[in-house]
């Protein structure tokens, strides 16, 4: 996309020349999440803390945000305290009641080993709720540091890292994950590592673009003239002013992290079998769909869908508030 001119309809224009002339292609999606002007005026006029408090207030009044937060909270409660209120032991095999349809005894039915589907769905949120947020958070930190360095120093550092990132991102994330999982051995740690590295690369592009727009503004020049070092300029001066896009990136990536963790555990690269897990349970039971035993697959699938919807609802409202 680089070099197609900055007056192109569709949003690239907002980024201005600096971004368009860069060696790294800019994902047009980024232009949608990058605020046109994330309000230096506002930050300078009132204190940044006040703006944050206002934003929080707006969020708490948004119905979409609250619905999303409620669903997320439900799953977090299930993950932490689920052991206390699950109806059955999720690991208990009962070969007399295999593939039982939903009924009063087993609300969501039982799976091919006679295990209670509801209990497994309650406990099955544990891995995904740990891996997805931690990889999104690590990726955001990594991407922020990288984007700051790239955007601040520009030049050779930016060019070399930019090319490496572009090469790496030519692989779909699932495929990149395969390569690393196979090379390093499957484990939760590998999962977190590969997702956070990839997210870091993706996020660094957004941060870099935002930093490029900031670095030549007067307040940075003033800091430089005062003799402040690069570290101070990057983290104390520029960082607070590019927080908007970073927060939006985090929420967008969090949804995608859940997508990925679910997908990778469906493919067998998550927790190992007897442990309840939505993706892994679907993988273990979907072959029985043809026989009509839909409940053992459909309920974990709906659980994943509800979690993703919750994150999306929250992400959408956060995006709206931050951009406002």
């Amino acid at each position: 996309m680089s070099g197609t001119g900055d007056e192109e309809p569709g949003g690239l224009g907002r980024l201005g020349r600096a971004a368009v002339d860069s060696p790294t292609a800019v994902d047009p999606l980024l232009t949608l999440i990058l605020p046109v002007d994330h309000g230096h005026g506002a930050v300078l006029g009132s204190s940044a803390k006040q703006v944050r408090r206002q934003q929080l207030g707006l969020l708490l009044r948004s119905r979409t945000f609250l619905v999303g937060a409620a669903i997320l909270l439900l799953w977090i409660v299930c993950a932490i305290f689920g052991g206390m209120f699950r109806p059955y032991d999720p690991l208990a095999v009962n070969l007399f009641t295999t593939n039982a349809p939903p009924s009063g005894v087993h609300l969501f039915g039982t799976d091919s080993l006679g295990r209670d589907v509801l209990s497994r769905a309650i406990i099955g949120s544990r891995e995904i709720l740990f891996v997805a947020p931690s990889s999104a958070a690590l990726g955001t930190i990594f991407g922020t540091v990288m984007g700051l360095v790239q955007g601040y120093y520009r030049g050779l550092v930016d060019m070399i890292t930019g090319r490496i990132i572009e090469a790496y991102l030519a692989l779909p994330l699932v495929i990149a994950a395969f390569v690393f999982i196979v090379a390093l051995g499957p484990s939760i740690l590998t999962l977190v590592l590969v997702i956070s590295i990839t997210f870091g690369f993706l996020i660094s592009r957004t941060v870099r673009t935002a930093v490029l727009l900031e670095r030549d503004l007067d307040y940075v020049a003033a800091a430089r003239l005062q003799g402040e070092g690069a570290m101070h300029n990057m983290f104390v001066e520029i960082l607070p002013n590019v927080m908007g896009p970073i927060i939006v990136e985090f929420t967008v990536r969090l949804g995608y992290a859940i997508f990925l963790v679910a997908t990778l555990s469906f493919l067998g690269f998550g927790v190992s079998p007897p442990t309840p897990d939505w993706g892994a349970d679907i993988a273990a039971n979907y072959q029985y769909l043809v026989a009509g035993y839909w409940w053992e697959t459909l309920f974990p699938a709906l659980a994943i869908a509800s979690l993703i919807t919750a994150i999306n609802l929250m992400g959408d409202s956060i995006e709206t508030v931050v951009i406002q």
């Binding site: 996309m1 197609t4 001119g5 309809p9 692989l171 769909l289 459909l298 869908a305």
Partner: protein
Amino acid sequence: MGRYILKRLGLAILTLLLLSLIVFLAGQVLPGNPGRLILGNFASQRSVDILNRQLGLDHPVLLQYWEWATRIMHGNFGRSYQFQAPVISFLFPAAGRSLKLASLAFVIVVPLSILGGVVAALNRGRTVDRIISTIGLSLSTLPEFVSGIVLIVVFAIELKILPVSANAPPGSGVLIQLRYLLLPAIPLVLVLFGYIARIARAGTVEALESDYVRTATLKGLRRRTVIVRHMLRNSMLPTMTVVATQTGYLIGGLVVTETLFNYPGLGRLIYNAAVAKDFPMLEAGVLVIGVVYLTATLLADLLATFLNPRVRLQGFE
């Protein structure tokens, strides 16, 4: 113009080289002991050492990369560990099958999502717009295997109007094959719809606010003419670029749908190679995907420049 194309091409080749280096490091260096992988747990240490030497693993890493890269440039992707046969004999038939599935998904999703985006933009702020945007975005974040399962339950098991498997009986005609591929293609369509529609909507909204659309409207042209002749042309440019960048998501999605529907395409080949730690197969598959992705983005870039007269006539940076 020629210079611009050369520059873009050069960058694409550089990216490909770097990608191959990443794949080489991950596939050949990180795992450590290919000899042990090939010969299995019961082979003696001595024969493992001999094989490792035969594979050139005692050479310095850069030399190894050079040997590996020249081998691949000659079309020799090595032998698959799991099948003990040349990788290439599996690679292309599988890629062909994936291409069929991916093309079907693209043929459905591109017109559909552009239509969705344009309709949403024309009804900006109204209920239609909100419905299209919300549904599109929610569906695009739903993993393919989740939507795939819901689709299987509804269309294959309850309504019984589409087959559960993606594999048509051998020798069946194109229409029958399409019928079998339809259900696996829909999850891919659902994932891509939201993104493309969103970009198409943004492009259309921007075009709607532009001076040339206002001029065309004030000239007294019919709304239809304004939309088709003046607006669509401009709003489709960014959309096309996005369609190309989505090939990455599409291929990632292929891995999942092909596994779910038991369809022997490239995605499933790579997945099986990953499960079996079949490094030559994995590397070859990953490289093919990288090449496809880079070619798609390159073509989209060039096409976008050709179609944009402002860029075409001005020359390039």
